[in-house]
Symmetry: C2
Subunit: 371 residues, 2 copies
């Protein structure tokens, strides 16, 4: 299902193509996050206009609400949410560990209480794959334990052992689409290698680097990828879970990653923060009060094509939903367009130049909010 089209000559960056039942995905790719069956504040038609190729759904959230009995009535998440392009579902593991209460982890799976109504629930490897099959996921992720940061070596090793046990069980459960293994091992290079090699020996359709974006410093995040990637086969897609900022994604691509998902572009949009090629911009700042220009000059997103920073700032200050809708559309466009630009650079043999120019221009430093 994955074809490696080319590899950059100065880095590990790759240009690829991933084929699913709901369409072909050109990589590198960013996947907007649709936690509860919708990308927050955005309609499916708007995602299509933004050229989103694939979105992510959260198994844990959808399992709890509306529940599988409802989604099964519609033949899966595509029919329920009316999104007809590919969907990747996470396994629920990360969400159970970060959101649910009173959990008990055994080799069979995880007992937890719903964060919505406290109802007792259980998800194990078999259940996780069955849920993703019911959702009709194009890419299902294996059920894994995501250790916290920081994490002791012994805990990470025992957790990894369990995740590999679960991987074997996940493999046996039939799902309609692809199955991706998740490399764990916390911050320990030998565990990362052991995890990658064990998963690869089981032969999955793709591999993710998990246990990143869990509060660790950026160097640890990059190291987790660097310690996993060399043991992954070039002919399968690689996905860094829950990442990241634009510069982080550029560096991950240079380290051989093909796929990303992240709540950042939609989450920070709801606070009025927009991504631009020059870095992030807080649109609530007073400097935008009379600004007639768009969020970014030359941007072709629906917000920039039509509306001024002044108007968008007014909407944000007045807490109007249209304000966060417009910034959300802009940010998703930025992330998706960043990937399209990188794909073009790779095809032109110009990724290194792109990478250098990108970092020179992109700044994390912005004038502090004035109000």
């Amino acid at each position: 299902m994955f074809e490696l089209l080319l590899t950059d000559s100065h880095s590990k960056a790759r240009r690829g193509r991933l084929t699913t039942a709901h369409g072909v995905i050109q990589t590198p790719i960013f996947m907007p996050v649709g936690t509860q069956g919708t990308v927050k504040a955005v309609a499916p038609s708007e995602l299509r206009e933004l050229d989103a190729q694939i979105i992510l759904g959260n198994t844990y959230h959808l399992f709890l609400r509306p529940g599988l009995d409802v989604i099964r009535e519609f033949g899966g998440l595509h029919g329920f949410s009316r999104w007809d392009r590919p969907i990747l579902t996470d396994s629920g593991g990360f969400q159970v560990f970060s959101l649910a209460r009173l959990r008990k982890i055994t080799d069979e799976g995880v007992h937890f209480q719903s964060h919505i109504d406290g109802a007792p629930c259980f998800i194990g490897p078999k259940e996780a794959m069955e849920i993703q099959a019911a959702l009709g996921s194009d890419i299902a992720m294996l059920f894994d334990e995501c250790p916290p940061y920081p994490c002791e070596y012994d805990y990470a090793a025992r957790s990894l052992e369990r995740t590999l046990l679960w991987a074997k069980r996940c493999k046996e459960v039939p799902t309609p689409g692809a199955k991706f293994g998740i490399v764990q091992g916390a911050t320990f290079a030998d565990l990362r290698r052991q995890s990658a090699e064990a998963l690869v020996s089981m032969d999955f359709d793709g591999y993710a680097v998990g246990g990143v974006s869990v509060g660790e410093p950026e160097e640890e995040m990059l190291a987790a990828v660097e310690n996993s990637e060399p043991y992954l086969p070039p002919g399968k897609a690689r996905y860094a879970m829950g990442l990241g900022t634009p510069p982080q994604m550029v560096e991950m691509i240079a380290r051989g990653i093909d796929m990303f998902d992240c709540v950042l572009p939609t989450r920070v949009a709801r606070n009025g923060t927009a991504y631009t090629w020059g870095g992030t911009v807080n649109l609530k700042n007073a400097c935008h009060t009379r600004a007639k220009g768009p969020i970014e000059e030359g941007c072709t997103c629906p917000a920039c094509r039509e509306f001024s920073r002044s108007y968008i700032r007014h909407l944000l200050k007045a807490e109007e939903i249209l304000g966060l809708r417009l910034v959300t559309l802009h940010n998703l466009h930025f992330y998706l367009n960043l990937m399209a630009t990188i794909r073009q650079a790779l095809e032109a043999g110009a990724f290194s130049e792109f990478r250098q120019r990108f970092h020179a221009r992109y700044s994390k430093v912005e004038a502090p909010p004035e109000e």
Copy 2:
């Protein structure tokens, strides 16, 4: 600017046409409310798709935020909000009396504190018209005092006197579009007549019935219109301010009203209540959990064309913005389509039949929320 095209033979219902610098409005018409420079949760492109002919802007809110200095930079509210069809602005009177703090009313105008930051402000008749001129309003409303309900006769009479004094001052201030007078007089038939006759003698471009939808019973609301309308000239548009439910609008049209504005369709949408020809429906109710059908069978709105009640209910329960967006679009479509249907009925000489069928089918009774 107003042409009366025909009057119903069994009621006072009228079919008309109102011409403004930004386009022609077919009446009877409902005007979606865009309080803070946007109809809540909806983009201008979506309003155009819904065939909204004119929207309302709130002078008081826009005067406080973003302020006239900002809106002037864009040549008015059309340029600022990117809505290119007609805009009616209220005078700010009603909002000052209902939202602002510590007001002092004199014959010169109203001193008040902003409900946003407590800043001391003043709006009188001259200021109200100057603000509406700066907003570039197609239809400016005269500055009026809106007495509360209930209201003593003496207060209503004194208040009316002041409103008529203000009307004279408003008339002298040049504005780019039309000016509509507002009939007041609370629940007193003689004051309503006195108000209407005095305003008509000043010759405005249209006339509104104000001081309705302020908490009075429905009979008082209808009586206020019945006590005002006979004294208004047939050749000018009539506008019932802040109204109403679908049955109230049908009855107001039968009593000679041409124009309506109301926050109901957008406000109740955000709580999950949808309008249908059978009455209101609470989409959060458990009976919709697995419902594959649209909000209303046969409805051509963007929500009903694409999404099931089950999915919309899920979005509302999960507090996803897309949920309230979809119900808002449906409700605005319902209100606008109700008016389009009434215009067709009037043209076909079938308004009485429509009115009877409408009331027979539309019910205020719904099963109580189950959760």
